[in-house]
């Protein structure tokens, strides 16, 4: 066990060692400083020319939002139509069928919003064409959308910017050409050398030792798996995601993937410090987020390593930890570490079945998504954190007797309205969604639907409640992992989660962008001795407390009825 724990610590240490220079590099890219990838710039200029983009045109926050929402809308229509007709299109060697309208709707949204809730299984539900041209494409652009939105907010935090917040299309394009593509290529190559398929040949047929003939799904998967992690997407090629031996063949690829998925969220924090020349501010945010992540990781590690007390009582050896739902080649600590990282950031790829996690781990995974701001998704994690900073700045500004200000701009009623609305949205969509499904399950168990509500839950009771809660939480947080065991490919779940995903994606992007844009236009107040600094440990603690308290207050009763009831029922 100690070796495995060391493995986890080493993995995290390598992530940090990579993230700091990467953050510096990202800051250089958006500061238009020289980088070693400058040879790409003719390509970028070519893209701008054929798209008719004037790269020198600066936009204000409203223009940024319009650009962002418009291209997202176009991608949605494109993805929806492609998935709906994939069965009739080319590059479909396995002859998979088209998706139903509700599943297309859900899948298109789910990939568009960087959530990647997969109500289908990749091997049978998608074709090579849609996997590459739709799903992998959305992997790139949805990650770039989040990062571009964040860079706009970075720009707005600068002094004296007013309405000049950069050009959205330039930021967006550079995110892909300078950051996502190059790193994805490196990761994909590493995966291919470790056995991840990258072939267009269709299913392979093998004969097992028992003499049965079985068909093994393959495909050009390595590239998709690389960006699925780098872009905190999480939507895998195969149904079993990173628990599948092709997606995640060994401990090395497991480490590569876990580093890849948290690399950008952490690097972007450092990028903030370098970009704004407020390194201390970046380090404080990193510290708070890391403490937040550890708050969830440590209980998970302990409960997973200890194993299930009911099984211990049966006299069965649990020295390997709670192995139910975990891959033997990866082991308990690496799986526990993955399960928390993938939920605090919005990847949602899995290398073990969260449904089988111990109740405490389940609660921690849920909390990771309920807070959704400890590292968080590509770009959007810091945007969520930004909302909490605004609220923390407001309360602590009052506590020190000064009208609250953040980076030299006063926080007033309008900003508070937006910030509280966004903070409110997350619990709202999660709780209302879960309430709706609970209500349907209780009151209309035998509704005349293709899948009757009474058959939704494989495990009724507390665990069934957790499954429903997890599904909406995962969608609202744009995480996409599932507490499987929920029959989710039907109209009710496809449609409701679809709307939860849209709300959970775009409002938390619009909100921070609007606040930052409004603040940028305000008069800049130079710091004085009376100003509350936001780059101190004290303010870090305040932000941490605000995030935790809001999550705890909003979700405590739900958590009690789900994982906590289960935990206490296990006889602790």
């Amino acid at each position: 066990m100690n070796v495995e724990l060391t493995g986890v610590i080493v993995t995290f240490a390598i992530t940090l060692l990579l993230a700091i220079p990467f953050g510096k590099y990202i800051a250089r890219v958006f500061n238009n400083e020289r980088t070693w990838l400058d040879f790409i710039s003719p390509v970028e200029r070519f893209i701008f020319r054929i798209c008719g983009i004037d790269a020198t045109k600066e936009m204000n926050w409203k223009q940024h939002l319009t650009a962002l929402l418009t291209i997202n809308m176009l991608w949605f229509v494109y993805a929806f139509i492609m998935l709906l007709t994939q069965g009739h299109l080319f590059l479909n060697p396995d002859g998979n069928p088209s998706m139903s309208p509700d599943l297309s709707f859900n899948t298109a949204i789910s990939f568009l919003v960087n959530c990647n809730l997969q109500d289908y299984s990749g091997e049978t539900g998608a074709t090579y064409l849609t996997q590459l041209a739709v799903l992998m494409f959305l992997h790139f652009v949805s990650a770039a959308t989040g990062i571009a939105a964040l860079v706009v907010v970075f720009n707005a935090m600068r002094e004296g910017v007013s309405n000049k917040l950069g050009n959205f299309f330039v930021i967006f394009t550079k995110t892909i050409t300078r950051i996502l593509l190059p790193v994805s290529i490196v990761i994909a190559v590493l995966l291919v050398f470790n056995g991840t398929p990258a072939s267009f040949d269709g299913k392979d047929t093998i004969t097992t030792m028992q003499g049965d003939t079985i068909q093994v799904s393959r495909g050009p998967a390595a590239g998709l798996i690389a960006i699925k992690h780098l872009g905190t997407n999480g939507g895998g090629w195969f149904g079993a995601n990173s628990a599948h031996p092709f997606e995640n063949p060994n401990y090395f690829t497991n480490s590569v993937e876990i580093i890849a998925q948290v690399l950008l969220p952490i690097a972007l924090i450092f990028a903030l410090g370098f970009y704004l020349k407020r390194k201390r501010f970046g380090y404080v945010i990193f510290a708070v987020m890391t403490i937040g992540m550890l708050t969830f990781l440590i209980p998970t590690m302990i409960s997973e390593i200890k194993g299930n007390p009911s099984i211990t009582r049966m006299g069965i050896d649990q020295s390997a930890g709670s192995m139910e739902g975990k891959e033997v080649r990866l082991g308990v600590p690496a799986s526990a570490y993955w399960s928390i990282l993938t939920t605090v950031i919005s990847t949602g790829s899995v290398n073990s079945m969260h449904d089988s996690s111990m109740p405490v781990s389940g609660a921690m995974q849920l909390l990771g998504m309920m807070t959704n701001a400890f590292y968080g998704g590509c770009g959007v994690g810091i945007l969520n954190y930004y909302i909490f900073i605004i609220i923390a700045v407001f309360i602590s500004g009052l506590m020190v007797g000064r009208t609250p200000e953040f980076l030299g701009r006063k926080i007033e009623a309008r900003e508070m309205k937006i910030a509280t609305l966004i903070a409110l949205l997350h619990p709202f969509i999660i709780l209302v969604g879960t309430a709706l499904s609970s209500w349907t399950w209780v009151n209309h168990p035998n509704a005349d639907w293709a899948v009757k509500p009474s058959t939704w839950l494989n495990n009724p009771g507390y665990h069934g409640f957790s499954e429903m809660l997890y599904q909406y939480t995962s969608c609202a947080a744009n995480n996409g992992s599932g507490f499987e065991g929920l029959a989710d490919n039907n109209i009710f779940w496809n449609v409701t989660t679809g709307f939860v995903m849209i709300l959970g994606r775009f409002l938390p992007i619009i909100g921070p962008l609007a606040i930052a844009g409004i603040l940028a236009k305000k008069k800049y107040i130079p710091e004085s001795a009376g100003t509350l600094r936001t780059d101190t440990g004290t303010f870090g603690i305040m932000t941490y407390a605000v995030i935790m308290i809001i999550a705890a207050l909003a979700f405590f009763p739900a958590l009690v009825l789900g994982p906590l009831a289960e935990y206490f029922s296990l006889g602790h």
Binding site: I391, F394, I395, S396, G397, L398, M399, V400, G401, R402, T403, I411, E412, A413, M416, K417, T420, L421, A423, L424, P427, F428, L431, V432, T434, A435, S438, W439, W441, V442, N443, Y462, F465, K523, Y524, I525, P526, S528, A529, G530, T531, L532, R533, T536, T538, M542, A545, I549, A552, L553, A554, P557, A558, V560, L561, L564, A565, F568, S569, H572
Partner: protein
């Protein structure tokens, strides 16, 4: 009237009045202004309906009728407590204002009818309430001034102790910057004619009373933003409680309406919601207790944000006025002649500086009595801010002038006289030592220099140090030359100074600071201060100042104390801190309330949740009741804190945040665990 800062917070008559108001304020129209408490009122209403229907028919599914009734009573008390907090704050403010107003009860006024010269025949004795704006009245020794006004003629010593508590009489005179008189003060000597400046019921004090009473009270920007935050928390808990119902159905548990409403009321931030308006009123009340009348709640709050403080040197940084300390005759001018000239030039000068010159000459046995013959028909030249000199034109054609070096020099040079290097040396050495050189000329020929010295107020350095720790930059405004100004600025410890200040310099300085995003406060009294007072974010006019100055500023200081700004800044900061800390406290409380109520809700159907009952409350009913009771009584317990305000300590923003976070955040999590447990133990005796 005495400064009643030491009066107890709750006086009997105030409490009776406040209780009455608590019921009147239950009107939904009044409650809806406070979204948090309005939700409690709705909850109470639902409980009322539930309880009534249980009295009629109780099938047992909602718990016993007595228990429901108890919850109803506690919710109702929560409402009353919150209203009481607001009412007591209002009552205290009103009482304070009333005691000020009492000084101007019906007094006979000697109204001047017609607009001719004063003539006892023309004077009508009328009650003060009949005086209208622009009426003239007349006061002489022994009279109580009937209402606020501005002296149009005469000079008088006035006892203002009724308002300021300060027993030393003050001089008020027509023209100049000390021309205002206040109703209720007493004329001690001489006689004055006064023009009424306000209609009855429209004085600043009346406006302030209206603010306190809530009729014209508007929420400040910070208060609005905080209300939004509290409304958001309330909304979160509406969602939590509404969705809890289907969750409970799923878990096959029935939740009583009483339990659900109790949970809701406990969770929404009733503590700060109930105390919010009391905190705001108490802020204005504290200002009033410091003898400052504010024209809006916002002004007090803005004072807490001040970055730059403009202070007049005289009276604020230095004691009263400069005194003459030495005579420096120049060239061949004899001491004797020089002193005689100085006395002549100062003879008509009633300013303290002028008087001190005569006194100094007297102490040096110089001839201080000018012959009537010499003075007969002489013209006195008054000091103005523009000419920056004063003096006398004798009948025999001799012109004496004394004034600032550059003014006198300009005049001398214009008349063809030189400005000798000797004079320049004297002027510079006086300035460098913090003195003010007053150059004297006879027929525009410079004959010497008088040295005036300032005395810096004891303890002022510490006050500036405190301001610096608050992050406030202090700027001294003085008519002195830059050298003198620099010397005093350094000695007193101010951060910056404006020397040789003309009225527009103040204005420009304020605009410059505001352009870089700073908030500026200043204090002033003269008419030429009015534009700057209006421009400043916080302008405090002295009560003794001109009407124009008082109109322009957003506060009036009854004590005419230039250091009052420091107190006002602290009151403003306290106001925000009290709101911030109580909000934190209120939200932090919810943790314990959850641990009390949530296990109580589900323990019947999920016995394993006993593990969550970490306070070991002895029954679900008592757990819920204890939480609601705690939630209700914490409001009256915190009323004294809300009225007094949380103390401000200038220890730096981060340190202050740490301190308040520890006390009100961490304390706010711990305290209700103890409180609820104690209440539960007491409840155990009955249930």
């Amino acid at each position: 009237m005495s400064n009643s800062t030491n009066k107890s917070l709750f006086q009997k008559d105030l409490i009776t009045e406040a209780w009455k108001q608590s019921f009147i304020k239950l009107h939904p129209k009044a409650m809806v202004k406070n979204p948090v408490m309005f939700c409690v009122e709705l909850g109470t209403l639902v409980m009322l309906i539930v309880t009534i229907s249980l009295f009629i028919n109780n099938n047992g599914s909602q718990g016993s009728t007595g228990y429901n009734f108890l919850v109803l009573i506690i919710l109702f008390l929560t409402l009353l407590f919150a209203n009481f907090a607001e009412a007591i704050a209002e009552a205290r403010g009103k009482a304070q204002a009333d005691s000020l107003r009492k000084t101007r009860e019906e007094t006979p006024a000697k109204k001047v009818s017609g607009s001719g010269k004063i003539n006892s025949d023309e004077i009508d004795i009328v009650p003060s309430s009949q005086l209208r704006k622009d009426d003239l009245f007349f006061c002489e020794a022994g009279d109580i001034i009937p209402t606020d006004g501005e002296i149009v003629e005469g000079l008088a010593t006035i006892d203002e102790s009724a308002i300021t508590g300060e027993s030393a009489p003050v001089v008020r005179e027509a023209g100049g910057d000390k021309s205002s008189v206040t109703g209720g003060t007493k004329v001690l000597s001489d006689r004055i004619t006064v023009k009424v400046t306000t209609e009855p019921g429209e004085s600043f004090l009346d406006k302030m009373i209206a603010l306190v009473e809530g009729a014209s009270r508007q929420k400040t920007p910070n208060e609005i933003a905080l209300t939004i935050l509290l409304a958001a928390f309330t909304l979160v808990f509406i969602i939590v409680c509404v969705t809890l119902k289907p969750f409970a159905d799923y878990a096959n548990t029935s939740i009583t309406i009483a339990a659900l409403i109790s949970l809701f009321v406990c969770l929404i931030p009733t503590t700060i919601g109930g105390l919010l308006s009391a905190i705001g009123i108490a802020g204005m009340d504290r200002a009033l207790r410091a003898n400052v009348i504010t024209k809006s709640g916002k002004a007090v709050e803005t004072a807490g944000d001040i970055d730059v403080l403009l202070l007049d040197k005289t009276g604020t940084i230095t004691i009263g006025n400069r005194k003459a300390t030495s005579f420096y005759p120049a060239g061949e001018v004899s001491d004797e002649h020089f002193m005689a000239c100085c006395v002549l030039a100062s003879f008509a000068d009633q300013t303290p500086e002028g008087k001190s010159i005569v006194e100094l000459a007297k102490s040096k046995d110089a001839k201080t009595k000018a012959s009537d013959e010499l003075l007969n028909g002489a013209v006195f030249i008054k000091f103005t801010a523009e000419t920056r000199s004063s003096g006398i034109d004798l009948k025999n054609g001799v012109k004496m002038r004394k004034g600032a070096a550059d003014t006198i020099r300009k005049n001398a040079e214009r008349a063809g006289h030189s400005y000798s290097s000797e004079i320049e040396k004297i002027v510079n050495s006086i300035s460098a030592n913090g003195g003010t050189p007053l150059v004297v000329s006879e027929n525009d020929k410079i004959i010497g220099v008088i040295e005036l010295q300032d005395i810096i107020k004891p303890g002022i350095q510490e006050r500036f140090e405190r301001l610096r720790k608050m992050g406030i930059k202090t700027v001294m405004v003085t008519g002195d030359n830059p050298l003198t100004a620099k010397f005093i600025a350094e000695k007193a410890g101010v951060d910056d100074f404006i020397a040789e200040a003309k009225p527009e310099d103040k204005m420009n300085y304020i605009k410059k600071e505001q352009a870089s995003g700073k908030l500026v406060a200043m204090m002033g009294d003269g008419t030429n201060d009015a534009p700057a007072l209006a421009q400043a974010d916080v302008g405090v006019a002295m009560n003794s100042g001109t009407q124009a100055a008082k109109e322009a500023g957003n506060m009036v200081d009854l004590d005419n104390d230039p250091t009052k700004l420091i107190e006002i800044v602290e009151i403003g900061k306290q106001l925000l801190i009290t709101r911030g800390t109580l909000t934190t406290f209120s939200i932090a409380n919810d943790v314990a309330k959850y641990f009390a109520i949530v296990p109580a809700l589900f323990i019947a159907s999920i016995p394993a949740l006993q593990g969550l009952n970490i306070m070991k409350l002895h029954s679900p009913e008592s757990a819920i009741l204890s939480a609601v009771i705690f939630n209700a009584i914490i409001i009256p317990i915190l009323i004294p804190l809300a009225l007094r305000g949380v103390e401000y300590k200038p220890i730096g923003a981060s340190a202050l945040l740490r301190r308040n976070l520890l006390i009100y955040g961490f304390g706010g999590i711990l305290l209700p665990f103890i409180g609820i447990k104690l209440i539960d133990l007491m409840m155990g005796l009955f249930f």
